[in-house]
Amino acid sequence: MNFLKNITIGQYAPGNSFVHKMDPRFKTLISGAIIIQCFLLDKWFLLSVPFIFLIFVSLLTKISFSYIMKGLKSVLPFIFITFFFNSILTTGHPIFSYIFPNEFSFCLFPDLTSPVIPVYDKFMITVTHEGIEFGFFMALRLLIIVLATSLFTLTTSPMEITDALEDLMKWGKVIKIPVHEMAMMMSIAIRFIPTLIEHLEKIVKAQLSRGADFENKSIIKKAKSFVPVLIPLFVNAFRTADELAVAMEARCYGVTDNRTKLREMKATWRDFVSCAVIVILFASLNYFQFFTFKVS
């Protein structure tokens, strides 16, 4: 009865590395910049620069490679599918083609100066040179996005992310967005996930002891069998919320406008060095992108 044992919240892997110690605000901005940058680049060999950079960062985090891969595993199928469909659905010079029912042709290095062949034709599957190139490009782009975000969440605790977002969104207060309240809600929600899971596990066990059966075949019966779990869970959640609200008010939450923080975020040399590296890297990438290899 340990169906909840594999749930990890976020996927934060505590550590003490350069990346862990960085200011979460800078990590947020840098991850955002990497993602935006990889939409600006449209050559796969340019994209490989941020990719290699991220590989370097993942070495810096000192998190084991297999643990990082575990987080990526769930998106790998999408990456493969992206590659596959792009490679067969792009007009260009065919490398491999199959025409129904049994006609094959294969040419590893097609003559790129010859006229292109349209892909859609009868029952035909054509893998083109351009398709492979484009598929590889799209796959790499996806991989960078996923790797950047997972390196960010692996090295930044949910609380740090909340703090960083609150700080970065400070300007929102000017136009009456309740930034602080939203951040508080987010951190309370994060804080109570494990508590709720614990309650859930306890209630499930208690109802199992009373003969509850969650392995019904029919969907309706199955949904019904969760009522004895969900009602106590909600009752419990509301009670907890109520108690927490009272406890916060008892400690004068909301009396002053500008709360100070226990954990101040502070930019250090690590953040400035990282920023400098990113700026130099992206400036040169954009130079190549927009001046050397003109968009064709």
Partner: protein
């Protein structure tokens, strides 16, 4: 076959195979005779709750053997429903499991799940409510409108209604006022006397356990370090100290009297026994 529960070298680890692995029970041996009231005592985190969750198959032992009322819990094809009907488990703070609109419906949940007929359900609800000293007119009330003690008794009635032959209670008196505590303990021993239900009660109140149990099991760090009658268990100071427990108050008194040089037996636990012993020396 007078042992209703027979456990030998049971071990259990939480979250096996993760960095959070936690060995909660090691090599536990325990037998419970039919009709006994067994008190399990031990400090917080000693594994009491983990142990009792093995009795009705909520947790599966990593190694060792458990036999409950002739059913081998380590076998492959285990009929969990049958087992859970036999062993009623009342969790700590059981009032958090109430969910129905009326007290009656909530108590009827277990009998309904175990396929009792409507007539049997009606009967078992009434008799469970009577056993838990809940008045008839509560039947139609919402369980959420009851007092803490009444909610607790309703929840226990919800387990009793399936007429288990073994009743396991995990810290049933935690958070109750002294009067409700006393009342609940009386109800439990009454059940044991009248319905011949075997009772296993987890607690960390020594006074409470010695009043009601005829056998005591002391747990510490996932192991059973002592077991026997209350008098046997509380005659070994070392064991009680190492389990980070205290003597019942009256035992404490007897020990002090003994140290003051009075000719008394010191390993008495029940208040009446102590009074008798003190009266004897005058």
């Amino acid at each position: 076959m007078d042992h209703i529960i027979d456990i030998s070298s049971l071990s259990y680890t939480y979250m096996k195979g993760t960095p959070y692995e936690k060995l909660a029970l090691k090599d536990v041996n325990l037998t419970v005779a039919s009709g006994d009231i067994v008190g399990i005592i031990g400090s917080t985190g000693s594994g009491k709750s983990t142990l009792v969750q093995h009795f009705n198959g909520l947790l599966k032992a990593d190694s060792g053997k458990i036999i409950v009322d002739g059913i081998d819990l380590t076998q492959k094809k285990l009929d969990l429903k049958d087992l859970r009907k036999k062993v009623g488990l009342v969790f700590q703070y059981p009032e958090y499991q109430l969910f129905e609109e009326t007290v009656e419906d909530d108590i009827a949940f277990a009998p309904r799940q175990f396929g009792f007929s409507e007539k049997e359900i009606k009967y078992s609800v009434s008799s469970a409510m009577k056993s838990m000293h809940l008045s008839e007119d509560m039947k139609k009330r919402s369980p959420f409108s009851l007092s803490g003690g009444e909610m607790r008794r309703t929840a226990i009635a919800g387990v009793l209604a399936m007429s288990p032959s073994v009743l396991v209670l995990d810290e049933p008196t935690a958070g109750l006022d002294p009067f409700s505590k006393k009342e609940l303990l009386n109800i439990i021993s009454e059940l044991n006397r009248e319905k011949k239900v075997t009772v296993i009660i987890v607690s960390h109140s020594m006074e409470e356990v010695v009043e009601i149990a005829n056998k005591i099991v002391v747990m510490s760090a996932g192991k059973i370090i002592s077991s026997g009658t209350p008098e046997e268990v509380f005659s070994d100071e070392e064991v009680i100290k190492s389990a980070r427990l205290l003597f019942p108050e009256c035992t404490e008194l007897m020990i002090e009297l003994k140290e003051a040089g009075l000719p008394v037996k010191y390993n008495l636990c029940k208040v009446e026994d102590c009074i008798e012993e003190i009266v004897k020396i005058f």
